[in-house]
């Protein structure tokens, strides 16, 4: 949390300092208000003992009190203004920084945090930090200042009565500590149990067909009942413990008032206390209790903010392992070469890829096939430097990818991921994502090549609105649009990461045919599951457990590669081969 404070700018520090000053002033005013009220009571008391008293005397005190009340109000408004401003600016700054940071991450950092966690860190956690900053500026400063002022006031009024307040304070702290240690640990349990409720329900929903097919509704309900009972029990316990809080606090405050009057009566008899002092004392004492109450509430509230702050800081202090290279001007076009490339994930024992070497030239198509977990996707992820190879080098146009400026490298590549991901906006804005200056002809061509005829059938055509996550077009359509998006970029090298599997065979075939003619100068790197997709590639690399077990054309591999033959046979019948 503290580390995040470096995003506080000079102005913010200045404003915070100002806030502290105003709060001290405000608390002082509040104490004065009680003091003046005491002086009115004292005037009456002296009047009762024989001093003359006029309405004017009272008004003389009264208008000062009104001025003070106004001063308090103005101070709080100013504090509130500054605190809101500082908190909002701070969280804006944090959001910008976190977003920028995450965008700079490579896959390694993305995987380390997981996307879902990064989203929470960028949204909920920052909001929590903002709230904490705001509360700190308002409560965390006011409460201790108030405590100091009020304590000095009560001790100044009567030492004997201060002892009673001290006892009440101790009892209150004891109560708060009790609640803190008994109930607070249960809060995280409640969260866990709620998660379990969620899990069982999610399970029931996602498996609803299975549940019904197996007539297992009762089983699910019993399972739910069990977690439900468990959660309810913990909830009940916490609620019953927490129900102690308000009656307890009220008891302590009322008890203290009674004690002050009771002890006060003795002190007045002895002559060491005045009636009006006793009245103001009661109010100061309440302020002491209240301020300690607030302070203990902060102990519940601030740790939550600190956790969020730490989570945010974890993102901000992580540095991407992949940096721009020095920048190169390659002489050739459309070449990709792997030289003895091996790769393993950081901290992992086993290599995902081992000793991969191949070369593909301008206009050629190279395909990668293998079972799940054979490392095909990992292999092509090394080209756009989502990860860096552990050993060996990867050359694009004769230069090591690590030497490129990332922007230059990316400009050469047209990447189509496994899952077609679209951005909210229109079809057009999605297509122009990598090349804002593309002409309408370019768009038309790309749609044609990617077999996206469905766009024409849409009422709005390319201006069709895409919902967040692209949920309002089908998976196959998303995939075709994301292929079109890469085509519009007119890259030297295409990378298709299993991009054809969401398409049916027919579309797959037509698309490859169109790609062949339209992008004949571009190099194509294809990862595939289906033999049909890669059957006419210039080179096929067969991967098995991260090693190259075959390299050649379809016909060659059928003859000399067992793994390839096995895959082919599982998909096609003998006569078809």
């Amino acid at each position: 949390m503290i580390k995040l404070l470096k995003y506080f700018k000079f102005m913010d520090w200045l404003a915070s300092l100002f806030v502290v000053g105003i709060i001290v002033f405000q608390v002082w005013l509040e104490m004065e208000l009680i003091e003046y009220m005491g002086s009115i009571i004292s005037l009456i008391q002296m009047h009762a003992q024989g001093m003359p008293l006029t309405a004017l005397d009272l008004w003389n005190v009264g208008w000062k009190m009104i001025l003070i009340a106004f001063g308090i109000c103005a101070s709080v408004v100013v504090v509130n203004f500054l605190a809101s401003k500082i908190a909002a600016r701070f969280s804006k700054k944090l959001r910008t920084e976190v977003f920028k940071k995450v965008n700079s991450f490579s896959m390694e950092e993305m995987n380390k945090f997981s996307t879902a966690s990064l989203i929470t860190r960028s949204t909920n956690d920052i909001k929590q930090v903002e709230q904490t900053v705001f509360m700190t500026l308002r409560m965390a400063i006011t409460a201790p200042v108030m405590a100091c002022f009020a304590i000095s006031k009560i001790i100044g009024s009567s030492v004997e009565l201060s002892w009673t307040t001290g006892v009440a304070l101790l009892i209150m702290l004891f109560l708060v500590l009790f609640l803190f240690f008994v109930a607070v640990p249960k809060f995280s349990q409640i969260q866990k149990k709620t998660d379990r409720i969620n899990n069982v329900t999610r399970e029931n929903l996602t498996g609803i067909r299975v549940v019904r097919a197996y007539n297992a509704e009762k089983e699910q309900e019993e399972k739910f009942e069990e977690v439900n009972k468990d959660l309810t029990k913990t909830n009940l316990f916490v609620n019953r413990v927490m129900a102690l809080m308000w009656p307890g606090l009220e008891l302590i405050m009322n008890g203290l008032t009674i004690a002050i009057y009771w002890v006060g009566a003795y002190l007045i008899n002895v002559g060491t206390l005045e009636y009006y002092t006793m009245v103001t004392f009661t109010q100061y004492a309440m302020h002491v209790l209240m301020s300690f109450m607030f302070i203990s509430m902060l102990f519940v509230f601030i740790p939550r903010g600190v956790v969020s702050g730490r989570r945010t800081n974890e993102v901000l202090s992580t540095k991407s392992k992949i940096h721009d290279g020095r920048g190169v001007k390659p002489q050739t076009v459309g070449e990709v070469e792997f030289k003895d490339v091996s790769f393993k994930y950081p901290d992992a024992q086993e290599y995902v890829l081992k000793d991969i070497s191949f070369k593909v030239n301008k206009g050629e198509t190279i395909a990668f096939i293998g079972s799940t977990g054979s490392g095909k996707s990992t292999l092509i992820n090394l080209i756009p430097r989502f990860f860096d190879a552990t050993e060996g080098e990867i050359l694009v146009d004769g230069e090591d990818v690590k030497n490129y400026k990332l922007e230059d490298l990316n400009n050469k590549l047209g990447y189509v991921p496994q899952k077609g991901y679209l951005f909210s906006g229109t079809i057009k804005s999605n297509l122009l994502y990598g090349n804002e200056n593309a002409s309408d002809e370019d768009i038309e061509m790309a749609l044609k090549v990617s077999q996206s005829d469905f766009v024409k059938k849409l009422e709005d055509g390319v201006d069709y609105e895409i919902a967040q996550g692209g949920t309002n077009v089908s998976g196959g359509q998303r995939q075709r649009l994301s292929i079109a998006r890469a085509i519009i970029k007119k890259p030297e090298i295409y990378i298709f990461d299993d991009s054809f599997s969401a398409l049916d065979y027919k579309t797959d075939k037509n698309l490859r045919k169109a790609l062949k003619t339209y992008t004949k100068d571009a190099t194509k790197i294809i990862v595939a599951q289906r033999i049909g997709t890669i059957i006419d590639a210039d080179k096929i690399v067969v991967l098995d457990e991260g090693k190259m077990v075959g390299y050649g054309t379809h016909e060659e591999l059928l003859k000399n590669c067992e793994v390839y033959k096995e895959i082919a046979l599982s998909q096609l019948s003998k006569e078809e081969l």
Binding site: L244, A265, S573
Partner: protein, 608 residues
Amino acid sequence: MAKTEKTPKIKQRGPMGHGMNTGEKAKDFKKSMKMLIKSLRPNYVSIIFSLLFAIIGTVLALALPNVTKIVSEEIFSAISQNVSVNLQKVMTVSLWLVCMTLISALFSYFQGFILSGVTAKVTKRLRTQITQKINVLPLKYFDSQSYGDILSRVTNDVDTIGQTLNQSLSNIVTCVTMLLGALIMMFVNSWQLTLITLCAMPVSLILVSLIVKFSQKYFVKQQNSLGEINGIIEENYYAHNIVKTFNAEEKAQNDFEKVNKNLCHSAFMSQFLSGTMYPIMNFISNLVYVLICVVGGIMSIKNPLFAVTIVAFIQYMRTFNQQIGQVAQISGTLQSAAAASERVFEFLNEQEQEKEDQKTKVQLGSVKGLVEFKNVSFGYEKDKAIIHNFSAKILPGQKVAIVGPTGAGKTTLVNLLMRFYEIDGGEILIDGVNIKDMTRENVRALFGMVLQDTWIFDGTIRENIAYGTPNKTNKEIEDACCFAHIDHFIRSLPNGYDMMLDETANISQGQRQLLTIARAMVNNAPMLILDEATSSVDTRTEIMIQKAMDKLTEGRTSFVIAHRLSTIKNADQILVMKNGNIVEQGNHDELLKQNGFYAELYNSQFAE
């Protein structure tokens, strides 16, 4: 992005979805509240008791300042007359006070204790009802609803209702009692000072409503900006690779900054405006305080003993003003409670599947597996029939392959056979009995089902395999696993058959598939529904799955959503689907001869 794909994505609502609930309002406040109150009926007695306790506790607490006044009066008059305070009297009254405050606290706690119990019962009941409801809703309902939405009803909405019951219910009663009580006590003490207090009320109410009106606008703006910024964040993080390879970091940052700026402004404004409410209310309360001191002082000129009344009065005045502030808060919680209960009861009142208590049961052992479709028509939406007048007769033991391009609606037939959906016209007969005349439970027991979407739930492997048929012996389970070629794998796992499985369990998609095959095997139903996997399974496992599936279908009437050529060729009947409809039917050779859609499909898929 291997790791990210696993992250559960809640539909419609983003990760912040739950936080955004706060501003929600019920469409029909009265109706929702009525339903909530009605659902509390079994707990009325406890609730009435707890409210009674709340009133007693509050009344006692309210009496305190005025009893304390007796002590003050004693002290004050003693000072004025320069005599000693009667300590005996002070002690007696103080002891009374101690008793009162103790009893008041005790009653308040009883109230909280009872109400916590009620809350626990009610929330538990609601959750159970929702789960039971999930299991009796027609599957159709789930087509239009996202899981995230139903999930948030089970947890967030029920929690909101629970919190409201726990706090607001007693708060309302305490608040009303306090307001009335404090008002009465103020009048008892001094009607003049009471009038001053009451005069200030409309002023503060007007100011507060003005502030609320202004800040509400910014709260809405803030919610919108938050939603927008979450959208951008999710989108960019999930599509991280694309942002990078398309060099779009800067563009993304610019889009983000625009919304971020708006968010910053609206967050500031809403925070500031709503934060202004407190000092202004407090200012007015302080003004009244000053006026009471001064006017009370003036009144004391004639009667100095009035000074003690001022002190007591100030306490009542503070209580009164505090409760006015409470009213705004309570109405806020009631609003969100109404919204929550509206969502919960809306769900609980959804149309259920028709009850079928009086339907006949078919004896399982005697089923031969003759399935007939007679002029079946069906559509997912009314008036939009996708299957028209479909008829087919499948003899016992035959294998039916359902083929068609992606999205052709191949699962529709499964949905109809299993009565997940009801057909609109015609009939489906099993061994001559219309499936509408059997109970759904009965129909479903006739089929074993293996879907591509393998479903593993939290529990041991053994429980997962014996799912729906809990009284199977270990031998039967293990035999089924041998049969499904998964026994060896299971035994290689830590704890073997007793290993706990969950979402994150490290077993591959292919192994999951084998587990579900074993599950169908144990279930040993007379007929089968299979969905062949398309991809994401490595070759060797794929072959094992095929073998297991082939064994499973032996001698059973089976419906296979087929992707594999050998399955299709060996099928006794092929149903070819296109755009939801069955366009051709027959066996492989017949269909090829027809040279229609099947032939086209076959040529493009399997012949290069």
